[in-house]
Every structure is written in structure tokens, then in C-alpha cells.
């Protein structure tokens, strides 16, 4: 057969399962492209384990040519921590939504960051619980209408949008990598993810990347509105950039306690 023009999917994408299961214009596809490119560039297809959460991320269960485990809602981090602890030669990627990471799975996020677990966590922030039909998430913007904030998110009653990377940066120890990218800047996002993977491979520490993403279905936006919401509304609230790189020192790092005045 003559080789004709073919889509330039990242090599690690599994062509057999494309078109993927996401809605038209879904940001997940763009984040997964950035992740795919990063994996291609690092040449780690043979030893990467991909874990996806419940949420629209579950639709990636057969997305990659990677050994993949689709876990429970909010539980992708512990599953991958469990794997990494016994198979340190593997590169583990936890791919989750903002609801999974910042609400139901927040204890795992906080604890794995604090323990500096060698996992790379990618959180797709679409300001909603998308899979379940668009409820308010910790990341929903002030005033934003969702199915459970039908009159707009009232920050007096429900608080302000959760700043995930800022939270992680506040506790992650030396060696951690923390960044926030956006589907509006795919190459930058890819670079953040790549650094987050390298950070794990080098054994430095916890790696965390939030990606501002799009959910046109639940936002009920057309393409122009979608881009505008991400680039104007979201990016203003959620600042883009690197929050922690492994070379920085961190406050609160104190000397090792040699005598703990306890035990004998």
C-alpha cells in the first residue's frame, strides 16, 4: 500500500482508538497531545505507566500505546504511588480532573506532595465536574454558572477557586516541580510536562502540572467563546508559569533532628 499523508499524532498515541472519545473541541485532546509529545521526546514509551482517573479523563483508558490503569475517582495518585514504590524503574503519570485532584482526592494530592512521591501528576482544570454533566468544582470561577451553582458561583457561600499548584508548592519539599500551563500554549504546556517527567526520572521529587483546559460541552461555548474563556477569564485567575523547580530552596527546610529527645 502506498504511504499517504497521515495524521501527525504523537507516536505514543494509539491510532487504532482514534478518533478518541472526547467531545468536539475538548481540551483533554490538546493536553494529551502535549503529554504525547513529551513522552515521544523523552523516549519513555517502553517504561511509562499511564493512570487515569474517573471524570472525562477515564476516556483515555485505551488512548495510548502505554500500559494503562483506569482507577477510581480521585484515586489515581495512590494507585500509581503503589506501583512506583515497588517498580522505581517505571515512569508513572497520573492524569486527572480538577474535581478528582482538588476535591475527593485532595488528601492524596497533599500527602503525596508532602512525601515527595516520585510521580508526575497532570491535572486538567476545566472549572467543572465535566463527566457528570457540569457541576461546580473547586475551580469554578466566581459568578460562573454550573448545574449546582445555577445562579453563578457565590464565593461568599462556596469560596473562591482553588489554586492547586499554589497549594502543592506550599508544601512540596525540595526537588518538587510545580507548574501551570494552558491548552492555549501547547508547546509551553508540553515543556512543563516534559520537565515534570524528567523530574521524576531523575528522582528529584513530586512533579505537578495543572493544565487550563476547555469543556465546550458543559460551558456551552462555541470555538471563539471557548478560547476567550480560557485566555481571558481563566488565565487571569489562574496564573500561568512555573511555581517550583527542583533547584530552588524552600523555607521551612530545617536541619535533621539528630536527637529527638525521645525514645532510647
Amino acid at each position: 500500500m502506498e504511504v499517504t499523508a497521515q495524521p501527525q499524532m504523537p507516536k505514543v498515541w494509539r491510532a487504532e482508538t482514534k478518533p478518541h472519545k472526547f467531545c468536539p473541541g475538548c481540551g483533554h485532546g490538546i493536553v494529551l497531545k502535549a503529554l504525547g509529545k513529551a513522552i515521544d521526546e523523552l523516549n519513555i514509551q517502553h517504561n511509562t505507566i499511564f493512570g487515569c482517573d474517573i471524570g472525562c479523563s477515564l476516556l483515555t483508558w485505551d488512548f495510548f500505546n502505554l500500559d494503562t490503569i483506569q482507577t477510581h475517582h480521585g484515586r489515581t495518585i495512590p494507585v500509581l504511588v503503589g506501583i512506583k514504590r515497588v517498580r522505581p524503574e517505571l515512569v508513572v503519570v497520573s492524569y486527572m480532573g480538577d474535581g478528582g485532584a482538588y476535591a475527593i482526592g485532595a488528601q492524596h494530592l497533599v500527602s503525596s506532595a508532602n512525601r515527595n512521591e516520585l510521580v508526575t501528576v497532570i491535572v486538567v482544570n476545566n472549572t467543572q465536574y465535566a463527566m457528570t454533566g457540569g457541576q461546580m468544582a473547586p475551580t469554578t470561577l466566581p459568578g460562573q454558572k454550573t448545574e449546582t451553582s445555577p445562579y453563578g458561583r457565590d464565593i461568599k457561600l462556596t469560596g473562591k477557586p482553588m489554586l492547586g499548584p499554589e497549594l502543592v508548592a506550599s508544601i512540596a519539599p525540595e526537588g518538587a516541580y510545580v507548574a501551570r500551563g494552558t491548552v492555549s500554549n501547547v508547546m509551553q504546556l508540553k515543556n512543563f510536562i516534559k520537565k515534570g517527567l524528567e523530574n521524576q526520572i531523575k528522582g528529584n521529587g513530586f512533579s505537578f502540572i495543572e493544565a487550563l483546559s476547555a469543556c465546550p460541552t458543559n460551558w456551552r461555548t462555541n470555538a471563539a467563546e471557548t478560547w476567550s474563556f480560557i485566555e481571558n477569564e481563566m488565565s487571569e485567575y489562574f496564573p500561568i508559569g512555573e511555581l517550583r523547580t527542583p533547584d530552588e530552596k524552600k523555607v521551612g527546610e530545617k536541619r535533621k533532628v539528630t536527637s529527638n529527645g525521645a525514645k532510647h
Binding site: 483508558w61 494503562t68 483506569q70 484515586r75 495512590p78 506501583i83 517498580r87
Partner: protein
């Protein structure tokens, strides 16, 4: 395993929690994931002390949800991973175990029952039978061994790993706070010297070869889009479960040949039940005793085959009818009166059973 933790047969006098650790070591366990809860704590304490010596691993997680899911991770990665919990921790762990049940992951969980419901007491009970056998949003396709002595704790901890990896259903050793905390004699041994082959583990993820290039990727999921997809998965698990029941069920009997009164108990209570037999027989009551060792699957055929001449069944348990219901279920079709000596969260002595039987049967 670099160093064999147990070289020769060794008699020892130790707590049940210590016995469990030696059992896990003997079975070649690689890693324990766990969260503190009484009365299982000392399993972690002993294990962490031995970790460097035997080149094992340990991870203390942030809660039992995480302990369950990290255990799932360890198992997926092909390691002999286990965890231990009790009471409210067992409740929380059901989430991960329902995933293990769906995905047929050979998880091993030690349950040291304590008083319930809720935080209850940290002491003892047999109130986690329902939870362990049928917990989660599924059909309870699990294997549950209920132990009654330190020797069994050792034997069945080893067996749990083998059963789990052979049949791929979540496997539990159901113990309790008494067994955890008490000291009694036990003989520990290297299972291979006793001719017990340790089932090999298998990686479900992170296999050799580049996925999609040299081999198909492992795409594991527990979520289905259509009712029929799920139905087929559950149906095939049920089928497989039913087909292995006869290989798995275990039970113990005593003085059942001519028994008119059958006392049924499991776990540590069965010791009291067995002891009560002699004193009842001394008083002329033809009592016998049946103990399911596997609560799930339940040895129904064994039980059904020996009740034909029984006039009364007494179920004794430190719970309010959890075993009694299982017994009734499995004896459906008979109409021998069943009475329960039901003591949620309380220990049971031989004397109490004896007195109860005498009083209830007006003998």
C-alpha cells in the same frame, strides 16, 4: 527473597500480630501498605522493624483509602503486596476492594475485627463478617478465611497469598482484636519445606516490550459504557468464582457423627464452641460442632451433609446474627430450629455457650 526469613521450623510464643508478620514473610510478601488502626497496629510495627533485614518495603499512607489503592498498585505491578485494617478502616477500604473485585486483583487484606458499628471499641468483635464478605457495591466475589488460633493465623496468612494469586479474587484473613493481642504458642516454618509451593506473582502493568510496538498495551479498566459490557464481565467472574468454590472451601468439625445439637461458630469463638462440646456431652447432650473456615465461599455442602439428624442448631458469634444469616442462607430447605447466641463485640466463653444451650433447649 534474598534471605529466607524462616529457615527451620520454630516454636514460639508471640502475639497474633507478630504471627501475621511472620506468615507474610514466609509467603514472600514484598510490601505492606498501611494506615494505623487498633488492633492491627503491631503488624505494621513488627513489619517495619524487619523491613531492612529482609529487604522488604513499607509505606504508611494517608488513610485506608490510600492503603487500599496503593496495595492495588503494588499488585498491578506484580508484587506480593498486602495491607491490614479493622473497623472503620475496613469500611473505607471497601472502595479499593470493590475495584480489586471488579478487576480480579489478588489483593491480600488482614482484618483484625474490632467493636462496631462506627468507631465502636478498639477491642474485639466478629462484626465485620458482612463487610468483609460482601462489602462494596458488588456481589462479594471474595475469599475470606476466618482463623481461630495463632497457628491458623500463620497458615492462612501464607495461604491467602497463594489463593489470591492463583484465583485472582480479593482474599482476606479475618481475625480479631483478641487474636491480634494475645500471646500463645505457634510453630512457624518455611512453607516450601512443608511442600507448600508459593504461587508466582505476575505483572499486569509494566510488562517487558514497548506497548503498541512489540506487544499490545495493557489497557485495564473498571468502568463500562453499556450495561451488557458490565454484565458480561460480572457474569464471567461469577462463573469462575462458582467453579472454584469446591477447591477453596474449608471447614472443621468435631463430634458431629451422632450430634443432635450442632453448634456453629467461626474464628476465635469456635474455640469456646468446641470446648463446650465436651461439657455438654458430659451432661448427656449429644453436641457437635461445625466451623466454617472459609466464610466466603461458605462450605455449604459440608454443612448440609451433616445436619440430617440434627435437632437443634446453635450459632454462637460476637455479632448480631451475621454468621447466623449466612448459615440460614446456606441451610435453606432444612427446618431445624436455629438459635443464635449473639453477643456483638463481646468475647464468648465455653461456659456461656454451655449454659446457653442448656437453658435454650431446656435440657
Amino acid at each position: 527473597m534474598d534471605i529466607k526469613p524462616i529457615q527451620d521450623e520454630k516454636r514460639a510464643f508471640m502475639t497474633g500480630n507478630e504471627v501475621i508478620v511472620w506468615g507474610a514473610l514466609a509467603a514472600g510478601a514484598d510490601i505492606m501498605y498501611g494506615y494505623p488502626i487498633t488492633p492491627q497496629n503491631e503488624i505494621m510495627h513488627y513489619w517495619t522493624r524487619l523491613v531492612p533485614k529482609y529487604k522488604k518495603d513499607f509505606l504508611q499512607t494517608e488513610d485506608e483509602i490510600s492503603a487500599g489503592f496503593t496495595t492495588v498498585g503494588g499488585v498491578l505491578a506484580g508484587k506480593r503486596a498486602f495491607t491490614a485494617t479493622a473497623g472503620p478502616g475496613n469500611v473505607l477500604m471497601q472502595e479499593a476492594l470493590s475495584m480489586a473485585e471488579m478487576m480480579r486483583l489478588p489483593t491480600v487484606v488482614i482484618v483484625t475485627q474490632r467493636g462496631g458499628p462506627s468507631t465502636g471499641t478498639v477491642i474485639y468483635s466478629q462484626q465485620e463478617v458482612n463487610l468483609t464478605c460482601f462489602g462494596g457495591n458488588g456481589e462479594g466475589l471474595r475469599i475470606v478465611y476466618s482463623t481461630s488460633s495463632h497457628q491458623e493465623l500463620f497458615n492462612y496468612t501464607i495461604k491467602a497469598f497463594n489463593t489470591a494469586w492463583k484465583y485472582r479474587f480479593p482474599t482476606f484473613v479475618l481475625s480479631d482484636g483478641y487474636q491480634s493481642k494475645m500471646r500463645e504458642p505457634v510453630t512457624i516454618y518455611d512453607p516450601e519445606e512443608k511442600g507448600i509451593t508459593i504461587e508466582p506473582t505476575e505483572s499486569l502493568l509494566g510488562l517487558p516490550g514497548t506497548p503498541g510496538v512489540e506487544r499490545d498495551p495493557a489497557h485495564l479498566r473498571n468502568t463500562y459504557n453499556l450495561e451488557d459490557e458490565l454484565y458480561n464481565v460480572v457474569k464471567s467472574s461469577v462463573k469462575e468464582y462458582n467453579s472454584i468454590i469446591s477447591k477453596i472451601v474449608e471447614y472443621d468439625t468435631y463430634a458431629v457423627e451422632d450430634a443432635k445439637v450442632l453448634i456453629i461458630a467461626h474464628g476465635v469463638v469456635s474455640r469456646a464452641a468446641k470446648a463446650a462440646i465436651s461439657s455438654l456431652r458430659e451432661k448427656g447432650i449429644k453436641a457437635g460442632y461445625f466451623r466454617p473456615i472459609t466464610l466466603r465461599p461458605f462450605p455449604d455442602e459440608a454443612l448440609r451433609s451433616l445436619v440430617d439428624n440434627v435437632d437443634h442448631i446453635v450459632v454462637a458469634e460476637s455479632a448480631y446474627g451475621q454468621l447466623e444469616n449466612i448459615v440460614k442462607n446456606n441451610l435453606y430447605g432444612f427446618n431445624i430450629p436455629i438459635i443464635g447466641y449473639l453477643r456483638p463485640g463481646m468475647g464468648i466463653t465455653p461456659e456461656e455457650i454451655t449454659d446457653f444451650v442448656k437453658a435454650e433447649l431446656s435440657l
